[in-house]
Amino acid sequence: MNGTRAVVLGAGIIGAACARELALAGLAVTVVDRGGPAAATTSHGEGNVLVSDKGPGPELALAQLSRELWPTVLAQVAERSAEGRRAVQAAEWDPKGGIVIATTGAGAHSLARFADSQRSAGVRAEPLAPEALREAEPYVTREHTAAVHYGEDAQVQPAGAATALLTDALAAGATLRGGEEVCSAVVRGGRLTGVRTTRGLLEADLFVNAAGPWSGALAARLGAPVGVEPRRGDVLVTTPQPPTVFHKVYDADYVGAVGSSEEESQTSAVVESTRAGSVLIGSSRRRVGFDDRLRPEVLSAVAAKALRLFPSLARVPVMRAYGGFRPYVADHLPVIGADPRLPGLWHASGHEGAGIGLSVGTGRLLLHLVLGQPPPVDAAAFRVDRPAVLRPRPYQQEEAP
């Protein structure tokens, strides 16, 4: 593939992971972003690397591949960098494990069934007896009905992880062009051969749409619309605390909220500590277009659910809140592969809230598809020509004028 020119559209963590794989495989890679790298969705996420929230199926397989790749990829980045381990320090890789907690009888039942099904797919999901839970998370509520420990769940600092991946891609020969927006497609003989940008014409053999929540709009600009829409998520950050939360702890409702398509707000608690001692509290999911307004009542609902898990956090000050837009697809699966309508165009998008964790697996999968090699996981479910992507239910403004 030496000499093949690839343009990755979007310098978020998905674009960085794809660019890195393609550049290491010898392609001539250019990464284009209309803003700064990792400045949008990537740096407004929590940094989940989860297997626990996915049931058996293609997305879990991609999550397992990614989970396996993360430590290796970061070790390789460090190895290849003159800075060594410092090059991946800001990624704050932490295989802390996750604990899912049910607080109702029905919740306990469905959590147990869900964990059973995951175990059959090779996930490490260990039920925790009350005393084991207390030992693992001394401050968690006593009012729980079941708990499952997922040893594979991990966390990264998303901006740091993306910086590490993209820096490695650049070291492997990729070029970064920031502050450049794609305006239109250049199609010759039915094939995408170039894009016109705010700085001129950019020609290549293949183009990867990795524009996250904006990839629907970008694809439409290129003449091949895909059903990727923004879904808003909000996160709370507390002042640094003495160690209180030791795993990624979330309520079993989270799995339901991840799988929901409701336009109204879905909230569930995901509580964890960062290396600096702050407690991160997510999350909400709202389909409100690109509406960036702060919604205190949504934050309030997130806070209330977090306190159900950790009542002792009531007096802890929240010092910051941030929200981002996640790339949502109606069937909750990412879009990874070639666009059959427009040869030359590829997509790597639609990961919603799981994109940080799934990025490295997505990059690896895309590379295999580009090279025409057997993919490491079954990519059929992520194909572009599926109803949710090609015929999305039109987004209805939640609050019609």
């Binding site: 310098a11 960085a16 972003d33 209309r34 803003g35 700064g36 790298p37 990792a38 400045a39 949008a40 740096s43 407004h44 800001a90 998303p158 901006a159 740091g160 993306a162 910086t163 993209l166 820096t167 891609a169 650049l170 970064l176 920031g178 502050g179 904006w214 709009a217 709370l236 002042t239 640094p240 600096a276 702050s278 509290i281 277009g289 509406d291 960036d292 307004r293 702060l294 919604r295 205190p296 009542e297 934050l299 309030s300 806070a303 209330a304 977090a306 306190l307 956090l313 009531a314 007096r315 802890v316 000050p317 929240v318 010092m319 910051r320 809140a321 941030y322 837009f325 609050e399 004028p401």
Partner: protein
């Protein structure tokens, strides 16, 4: 007769109280909100105090006028006074709908475990008058105990008669250094010297050949002269073109290194001197508190020039350094911001002192109460003209001030790689240089997450402008444009304007009801 307009005024300093008074006079129902227990608290502590008279007689005079206004405003039947209340968030109306944001308040309440009650307030117009705080540039050792902002030192000295130290150096830039030194002398400190970083030539150019004329217009000359006299009485040297470029000590400051500076604040080698101290007070001007204006969606720009119809047109910022203007809230002649129904007054529109803030506040309050339409009766028109004149004088003074005391572009030359820039997270200058030199990590938000500068408890209130300035120098043109839907990177953006306990946030909020603002029967809107 139409129902009286509901106006919320955030900040009860000179601008805010003046806005409330004018809005009440124009018939509005007014809610005044301040985080402090008493109105005007900041007036005696920070910016306006910079130009306030120090001598007791003068102070008493200012106090009487203030007391008078305070009584008239807060006791007014159409006014509701909410002390110890913070605006923790502003919620903008739905896209496509105009009007001021909904205010989310944390009110003072019984100090029980449940925390402060959360309230919401909907109004027809919002006046933001939240003021400014000290700006301090970093230098090696500035994180040591004993190094404090001049504003904090003055608050201690004036408010509690506590001196920050026995042997103190006051350093930085601006006339605020004088009253700070004077109050330290009052509190019994030995002020070793007062150092103005700008050279005599710079300050002279800024103030012009006849500075007293302008100063007299703004009512400042006598005050500054009094402070200078106090310094002279105590034989305190006042040196220009010299700065504290390092603080040293074992566990707390024991000595400072001062050095002569060129006009651009680069150090003249061979001029370093060591001075034994147990405290050093630093001020490099003031930083407007912009989190609420940004949360409301107000456009920022450079300081307004007197007489210009719209702000934001001035060519060069007061900092005088490479395209790094100090941002202020853009307002028009009637103190309207870019957001319909939101008005701004005081230091957030430009650091101009208490007199200008009062005038701006009155214009803002009047505009807020009347919806900003032009007044019909000649008396009001005359009064507004006079207010604007007074405001313009204040702004002219502010312009001179900014030109006389710019921040020299070469100050980062004081820094060493291990110099702490973000004191909360102990991020050093070297890490910031490395982050901004990383092509893949130079976006402001990304560099912030990767270096942690600005992520600590003060949320970048101290280091934010400094880090943004360093980024402009080190990352050059690296793009920082936001994507659709995301706000522009801004060191002042803090969607949570105040910390809120998780328990307070989790508790339900209720609309604020009462005589001064929203009566029950109107709640259907």
């Amino acid at each position: 007769m139409p129902a009286a307009r509901r106006v919320a005024v955030v900040g009860a300093g000179p601008a805010g109280l003046s806005a409330a008074q004018a809005a009440l006079a124009a018939g509005a129902r007014v809610t005044v909100i301040d985080a402090a227990e008493e109105p005007g608290g900041q007036y005696h502590r920070t910016v306006p105090a910079a130009y306030a008279p120090r001598r007791p007689g003068h102070l008493q005079h200012g106090w009487r006028a203030f007391e008078h206004r305070r009584r008239r405003v807060l006791a007014h039947p159409r006014c509701t006074w909410l002390p110890q209340t913070s605006v923790w968030a502003l919620e903008r109306p739905r896209p496509g709908q105009e009007g001021p944001p909904r205010l989310h308040l944390l009110c003072s309440g019984p100090a029980d475990g449940a925390g402060r009650p959360r309230r919401t307030l909907d109004v027809d117009a919002l006046v933001l008058a939240v003021g400014a705080h000290d700006r301090v540039l970093p230098f090696p050792g500035w994180e040591l105990p004993g190094v404090c902002t001049a504003g904090a030192a003055q608050a201690l000295a004036k408010g509690e008669r506590v001196a920050v130290g026995q042997r103190v150096v006051v350093a930085g830039s601006g006339p605020f250094l004088l009253p700070v030194a004077a109050s330290l002398l009052d509190a019994g400190s030995q002020v070793r010297e007062v150092l103005e970083a700008n050279t005599a030539a710079t300050t002279a150019r800024g103030w012009g050949r006849r500075p007293w004329e302008l100063a007299a217009q703004a009512g400042k000359a006598a005050e500054l002269a009094a402070h200078a006299a106090a310094l002279a009485r105590h034989r305190v040297p006042y040196r220009t073109g010299r700065a504290v470029v390092e603080a040293r000590g074992d566990g707390r400051v024991e000595e400072v290194v001062t050095a002569r500076l060129r006009a651009d604040w680069s150090v003249l080698e061979g001029t370093r001197r060591t001075v034994a101290v147990d405290a050093v007070c630093v001020s490099h001007g003031f930083s407007p508190q912009l989190e609420l204006p940004l949360a409301a969606g107000c456009a920022l720009g450079e300081r307004a020039e007197p007489g210009s119809d719209t702000a934001g047109t001035r060519a060069s910022g007061p900092s005088g350094s490479r395209g790094a203007p100090d941002a202020f809230v853009r307002v028009d002649e009637r103190q309207r911001t870019s957001v319909p129904g939101v008005f701004a007054a005081g230091e957030i529109t430009g650091i101009a002192g208490a007199a200008a803030a009062r005038a701006e506040g009155a214009v803002a309050g009047w505009s807020a109460a009347t919806g900003g339409s032009a007044p019909r009766d000649p008396g009001t028109r005359r009064a507004l003209r006079a207010l604007r004149r007074s405001r313009d004088q204040g702004r002219a003074f502010a312009g001179r001030l900014a030109r006389a005391h710019p921040i020299g572009a070469a100050w980062p030359g004081w820094l060493r790689p291990q110099t702490v820039v973000c004191r909360c997270e102990e991020t050093d200058y070297g890490s910031l240089c490395a982050a901004f030199a990383t092509e893949a990590g130079a976006a402001p938000r990304v560099a912030k997450l990767n270096t942690r500068a600005g992520l600590g408890p003060c949320q970048g209130r101290i280091c934010g402008p400094t880090v943004a300035e360093l980024r402009r120098r080190l990352a050059g043109d690296a793009p920082d444009r936001p994507a659709e839907g995301l706000p522009a990177a801004d060191p002042h953006r803090r969607p949570l304007a105040q910390p809120i306990r998780l328990g307070e946030l989790a508790a339900p909020s209720a609309p604020l009801t009462g005589p001064g603002h929203r009566p029950e029967e109107e709640s259907s809107s």
